[in-house]
Symmetry: C2
Subunit: 151 residues, 2 copies
Amino acid sequence: MKRWPLPYPMYRALQLARNAALAGEVPVGAVITHGDKIIAEAYNSPRQSHDPTAHAEIQTIRAAAAFLGQERLGDCDLWVTLEPCAMCAGAIVHARIARVYYAASDPKGGAVECGARVFDQRQCLHRPEVYGGIGERESVTLLRQFFAERR
Amino acid sequence: MKRWPLPYPMYRALQLARNAALAGEVPVGAVITHGDKIIAEAYNSPRQSHDPTAHAEIQTIRAAAAFLGQERLGDCDLWVTLEPCAMCAGAIVHARIARVYYAASDPKGGAVECGARVFDQRQCLHRPEVYGGIGERESVTLLRQFFAERR
């Protein structure tokens, strides 16, 4: 059966998630694209960096905004291997990210299709286009492996 | 009529909010205390810093975690002049902040008593003690003045 290859940004985000696992961090990776160019990439690293806000999404948003020299990223898309949490969904709104592509859903910590559903709140000032499930199988495998090794 | 004086951390957070206004940023200030010591303070500065995540709360959480050299701030309290948004409420959860004191409610962007009510989600891993209304009058005056001058 033919399977479409992953779009390169999600392929790269999954590579970054693997790097997170190697560093002992929950394997989540993210990249931000501007047109067809990757302008920021990061993996989840709150332990290493002693920074509870150092999720992959927050790091890429900060790096992309610094790179473009502006507070808002309306022409940018975010690719991330796990459904964003409330903190990261809120940052996506503040940054005005155009599209969010994520791989695996996160019933325990997600806040897009699960939990706080940040983009669905009536007060939400910006709703990105959201596409879930791209690279889901690969991301779920990485996460399961990481937690299985730690049990 | 006697009025109790503000606790010093909120008085300081309001000073920081005034500094934000002077810098052309929405006037919000925050401090983090560890015992009776202020270990981090910041004002809202996304425009100045080209960083959509640079709310006062995120900056103080990052600074306090760096100062203590640990990802979690379970012995710390956050004092902020405006109800935290979804991004900041999520960061408060990740950091395991013990108590959150805030001055003014924010029906437009708040996510504690308004909107996404992040701490009330069933999936929420940590619920800080929350105290609203301390310094509310001072904070509302600052915010109204800031927006009135810009209309």
